[in-house]
Amino acid sequence: MRGTELKVRVELQASIEYFVQTNTGLVRQTATSAIVRVAVQYPTVTSISVSEVPLQSYTPLVRVTVRGAKFSAGKNNFVSLLKTNDHTKTIFAASPSNPDPYENWLLPPAQQQYTITPRVINEETIEVALSSLIGVAAFNSEASTLAHIGDYDIVAHWEQDAPTGVSRFGAIPAYATGLVKVTPARTDDFTKITKLDVVMDLLNPDPAKRTPAV
């Protein structure tokens, strides 16, 4: 991951000017305090439980660990995977309880999930699902799908209450690169379609009427 990752350290020092009476009159002097160092925290993504994600695979349980994070249930936590040399290509991180989002819409409306809720394992570890990278139908070209193969950066965010005197807008990010890659799809030459169920009326409340009699 390339970027302006400027890390700073901060010091505070107080001083006071004062007069001292001497034989010749008042003399102006300055006393300075000891330096107080203010720690700035720079959390980092230290691990992800998968190192390779094949194209067109759905990975339902992935744990991401961030040293220095404060993941908390009920707060906004999320993970993004961005292709290292092209951040327009991403892997979508969903709730571990969610089916692959590409299949989510196949569920009955009441069961479809629209919110992303990573599971908080502890303060430094959350669990998400990684969606499949299907790309577009390969009728014309697989190039756009294959372009997703490569190394990915990880960005993890979490919300954390700010201490007194601090204004904090949005979530705190942590970054990593070189921990995970997308690989070519697994091939299975023995796949055969043996049955095809056709749903004609998906939203019909009567399940018997969703599938037409054949």
Partner: protein
């Protein structure tokens, strides 16, 4: 009144060697306490309390914040401000310090 010479000499010596110091007694926010950490992107208002010792004719107290590049050690900027005093306790404040944000972008972009 009788004063022992040795006591008088001791008192004079103490008065002579008493140093003029200015000491920070508290800092807010404070990363040393739970929940007090600051992160990139935070906008911070530091409040520092300090006391003077051995200083009988104070003029002005100041606080200075120095930001350094953590890797190179180079000074990036300084923010300075004066403060107020009440009963010998100084309240010094630096407002509007924003911790530089980290940004990332793809290696090839």
């Amino acid at each position: 009144m009788f004063v022992r010479p040795v006591m008088l000499a001791g008192a004079m010596l103490c008065a002579f060697v008493q140093a003029q110091t200015f000491r920070i007694t508290s800092t807010t926010p404070n990363g040393e306490v739970p929940g007090g950490a600051i992160y990139p992107g935070d906008s911070v208002q530091f409040v520092v309390t300090a006391v003077r010792e051995g200083i009988t004719m104070p003029i002005t107290a100041r606080i200075v914040l120095r930001e350094f590049n953590a890797d190179s050690g180079a000074l990036i900027r300084e923010l300075s401000n004066t403060g107020s005093e009440s009963n010998g306790v100084y309240r010094l404040q630096v407002s509007g310090y924003r911790v530089p944000s980290q940004t990332c972008h793809g290696s090839g972009s």
